[in-house]
């Protein structure tokens, strides 16, 4: 089969990219989705809040997933579900992808590939939480599938690790499923979601947020979760909390395995492929978008990065020659900033999705300016930004014209003059 563009992953970024590629006239667009249903993570998210920035209306997760899926099908893109891209070879002159499904094993040679494989939450084991290994310990991802997609009821007491938007979403899901949420807990000094969200949770379900706290031991009883040990990081005090469910939320990691096994360079900050302003990775013809490159932004932001990537893929397909002549200047963040996306500057007039960079911080800071510098020269200072772990910081891209394409790496720091 001849394919112009292979899109890996039919979440918001992949589907939106496919729609845009077709709109721009790319003939053969194939979207490969390993799950049985297209739509990505929003499929399992029962609450509203989807589609604002890209579809300009508010939808529930499943409705949003359906809208994007329908639009992708109508656009003329081919959508294959239950289809895993099990290998991607990007070493030689051409790109080769192996697709595995019920239909068998197929090798295709697309002209370009868009990786839109998304992200996942770090599970308990990756966070090195010690103790027993009972049932009842899960991530938001598994929780939402069990509750919203399979209609499971969860009885008993639940504790949620994390206090970001997704953590409150997990708490809502648990309450919906019949569990009583004892508390949300975070190692940070305060919660990281919207005040309204937190207040809603507190009033409606009387859920407290335990700050500066961590789960330091999990105890099982006959194979089921019995209790967890919670340590207060301020006082060192340890208490035992009886619970039946423990949900680990947030702490995102991109699903970058296909990218890494294909030899694509990984950004040390985002842990996704290092990408330039046009979403191109280190391998010519391979692009990346969505929460693979910024884990995790909201679905509409992921979708818009997919649309941006689609446009750049079109330029790549029509003007192959010019692509590799440009110099690529990396952008590096200094602590407490954790990452920036995109993270490579190409001085060809390209701007990032939504004309802004997105960053993450590891620590709370009072409203603060970010400083952009290259080779000791200050290129820009942002306006004052709120620094909340797990929430995006946006840096406008207006300084791009001042970058020296032959210069050293660009550094993003907290402005010491704050």
């Amino acid at each position: 089969m001849v394919t112009d563009v292979l899109v890996v992953g039919a979440g918001p970024a992949g589907l939106t990219a496919a729609i845009e590629l077709r709109r721009l006239g790319v003939e053969r667009v194939l979207v490969a989705e390993r799950e049985e249903q297209p739509g990505g993570i929003p499929r399992h998210s029962g609450h509203t809040g989807y589609g604002l920035r890209d579809r300009h209306r508010l939808l529930s997760g499943p409705a949003y997933a359906r809208t994007l899926t329908d639009a992708a099908r109508q656009s003329g893109a081919e959508l294959r579900t239950g289809c895993t891209v099990s290998d991607l070879q990007a070493g030689g002159e051409s790109l080769t992808a192996i697709l595995t499904s019920q239909a068998g094993i197929e090798e295709i040679r697309p002209s370009a590939v868009l990786l839109a494989t998304g992200c996942r939450e770090r599970p308990r084991s990756a966070r090195l939480v010690p103790g027993d290994r009972p049932a009842g310990v899960l991530t938001t991802g598994e929780l939402q599938q069990r509750v919203y997609s399979r209609g499971e009821r969860l009885a008993g007491r639940a504790l949620v690790v994390g206090a970001e938007h997704v953590s409150f979403s997990a708490a809502v899901t648990l309450a919906h499923a019949g569990a009583r949420v004892v508390a949300l807990l975070t190692e940070h000094e305060r919660q990281q979601s919207y005040a309204a969200f937190r207040l809603g949770a507190a009033l409606r379900w009387r859920v407290p947020v335990w700050t500066k706290s961590a789960v330091t031991r999990v105890t099982g009883v006959a194979g089921r979760l019995g209790s967890v040990e919670v340590t207060d990081r301020r006082s060192g005090q340890v208490r035992t909390v009886d619970c039946d469910w423990l949900v680990f939320t947030a702490d995102w990691i991109p699903d970058h395995e296909l990218a890494r096994s294909a030899g694509i360079a990984i950004d040390p900050g985002t842990r996704g492929p290092a990408i330039d302003l046009g979403m191109a990775t280190s391998v010519p013809g391979v692009f990346a978008a969505g929460n693979l490159i910024h884990a995790a932004e909201t679905a509409d932001v992921a979708a818009l990065s997919g649309r941006h990537a689609a446009r750049r893929i079109c330029s790549f397909l029509t003007a192959l020659a010019a692509a590799d002549a440009l110099s690529r200047v990396p952008i590096i963040t200094e602590p407490p900033l954790r990452w920036i996306s995109p993270n490579i500057v190409t001085a060809d007039g390209t701007t990032p999705p939504r004309d802004r960079f997105v960053l993450r911080t590891d620590e709370f800071r009072r409203p603060t300016r970010l400083m952009v510098s290259q080779d000791g020269k200050i290129l820009a200072r942002s306006r004052s930004l709120r620094c909340i772990p797990g929430r995006p910081l946006h840096l406008p891209a207006s300084w791009l014209t001042t970058v020296d394409p032959e210069g050293g790496a660009i550094h993003i720091t907290i402005d010491p003059a704050n």
């Binding site: 390993r34 239909a103 068998g104 090195l128 010690p130 103790g131 598994e142 069990r146 330091t216 395995e257």
Partner: protein, 471 residues
């Protein structure tokens, strides 16, 4: 009715004995307290197929590990159990350690292993370029290998059951009465009022083997559980090493090793901590921190990689240095089988059959061919998995439907495990039979789907046979 032999304990040793005795004209029963075979020390170990180079020369352990090693290699090949012949590199990090390497070579020779080759400092880094700085010298043991530990007990039990051995799960022995005239035993079990009568009894109860031993009126040893915590790193770390990296052992422990697993991960461990509680399989903050630190020192690039799983196992250590295998009338004690039990299992079984014969058990081979060797699902990464085999998918499309994406486990494999001779009793059993949900996402993506497949199959079995899952 009375059984010829009752085997107490369905770990790798007990199932191996059951399989061995199934070759003869005997009526045997295998009693296991848990709801599946191989759930104790047999499932939580370093999964190394040893050569026996570092055993205590002249011990029973040395002899059985050496023989068991070649038997298990052959058996794994015949049944399709994954073995990866990685070799092991024993690394000396100090001049003192380097000076002890000659003695290790001598000890290996005394154990009948002649393959150990000294390696220079540069040779160490040629073999393992990602190793951390500071290695002084090494010893290359080419025949050490890694194996799929879960499929071994399952294969033994499957073969035994197919040959007529009765497997009774969820059956704990709570007391022993000696029958008049010393002609056998009556074993009280907690699974029902009927005791199990047998002419001969084998104690392969692992961590409970001293308690069982006392029920038989013996008192030769006590189990002193030694906990080992382990960390499994992501598959993306696998290219960082090609062989098992061993430390120079101390008198107390073999130390923390870094090893590839046949499943394509990297394992760091085990710690060694004496514990009192025989059911305590918890990991500790200190243990995990020590392993992360050790892993980073040995293989610094591990720092960049994610941890996929952490777990702990208990070694059934005793106060004695050697295995505790002996016969007392018609009772055979098979205890104190430490970390080498997986490797030695088939040789232990042969040895135990010999002990029982001495006690008067007639070992008459069965007539006819008997059941064929079971063919186990290949769970390794060194050979092709079902999702990679076009012909297999063409013949049965379920092998092209990947359900667990991290481990690339197909619906066909999950279906097969649920319908096997020894179906899993729970999700953990399904994990050990297929690898499903064992990957980096720890069920973030597939947990709901795989649980649903299990529940459907479980409900089907209950409706059909009154819940006789796994006999």
């Amino acid at each position: 009715m009375s059984w010829d032999v009752a085997i107490i304990g369905g770990g790798v040793v007990g199932t191996a004995i059951a399989r061995e005795l199934a070759r003869y004209q005997l009526r045997c029963v295998l009693l296991e307290a848990a709801d599946d075979v191989g759930t104790g020390t047999s499932k939580a170990n370093t999964a190394i197929l040893h050569t026996g180079f570092d055993a205590g020369p002249g011990t029973l352990e040395s002899r059985l590990v050496t023989r068991g090693s070649s038997l298990l290699r052959e058996y794994a090949q015949e049944t399709g159990i994954a073995v990866e012949p990685t070799g092991a590199l024993l690394v000396a990090w100090t001049p003192e350690q380097a000076s002890s390497l000659d003695a290790i070579v001598e000890k290996a020779r005394a154990n009948g292993y002649l393959g150990a080759v000294p390696v220079s400092e540069s040779g160490v880094y040629e073999r393992e370029p990602h190793l951390g700085p500071g290695a002084v010298a090494g010893l290359w043991i080419p025949d050490e290998a890694v194996i799929d530990p879960w499929s071994v007990s399952l294969a033994f039990a499957t073969e035994a059951v197919r040959a007529g051995v009765a497997l009774r799960l969820r059956t704990r022995v709570s007391g022993v009465a000696v029958l008049g005239g010393g002609e056998g035993f009556e074993l009280a079990v907690d699974s029902g009022p009927e005791p199990v009568r047998c002419r001969f009894a084998v104690n392969a109860a692992g961590l409970a083997s001293d308690q069982v031993d006392r029920m038989f009126g013996c008192d030769g040893f006590s189990i002193q559980p030694r906990k080992g915590e382990l960390i499994v790193f992501d598959k993306l770390a696998r290219p960082l090493l090609s062989s098992i990296i061993l430390p120079v052992p101390t008198p107390r422990t073999k130390g923390v090793l870094v090893a590839p697993t046949v499943f394509g991960n990297v394992l760091v461990g085990p710690t060694a901590e004496d514990v009192a509680d025989r059911s305590d399989l918890s990991t500790s903050a200190a243990g995990l921190a020590a392993l992360v630190a050790a892993g980073r020192q040995i293989l610094p690039s591990l720092e960049q990689e994610e941890v996929t799983a952490t777990y702990a196992g208990l070694r059934a250590a005793t106060e004695h240095r050697d295995y505790q295998v002996s016969r007392h009338g018609r009772y055979a004690r098979v205890a104190g089988i430490r970390s080498t039990g997986l490797t030695a299992s088939l040789a232990i079984a042969e040895h135990v059959a010999g002990l029982l014969e001495e006690a008067g058990l007639a070992l008459k081979p069965r007539t006819g061919d008997g059941p064929a060797r079971p063919r186990m699902p290949y769970l390794g990464e060194a050979g092709p998995r079902p999702y990679q085999l076009a012909e297999r998918i063409a013949a049965d499309p379920a092998y092209g439907e990947i359900a667990c994406h991290c481990e690339r486990v197909t619906k066909g494999e999950i279906r097969d495990a649920l319908a096997s001779d020894l179906p899993p009793a729970g999700l953990d059993g399904l994990r050990r039979r297929t690898r499903a949900m064992n990957g980096r996402c720890q069920a973030f993506f597939c947990g709901a789907e795989v649980s649903a497949m299990f529940s459907r199959a479980d409900a089907g079995l209950r409706a059909e046979g009154g819940g006789q899952r796994g006999h």
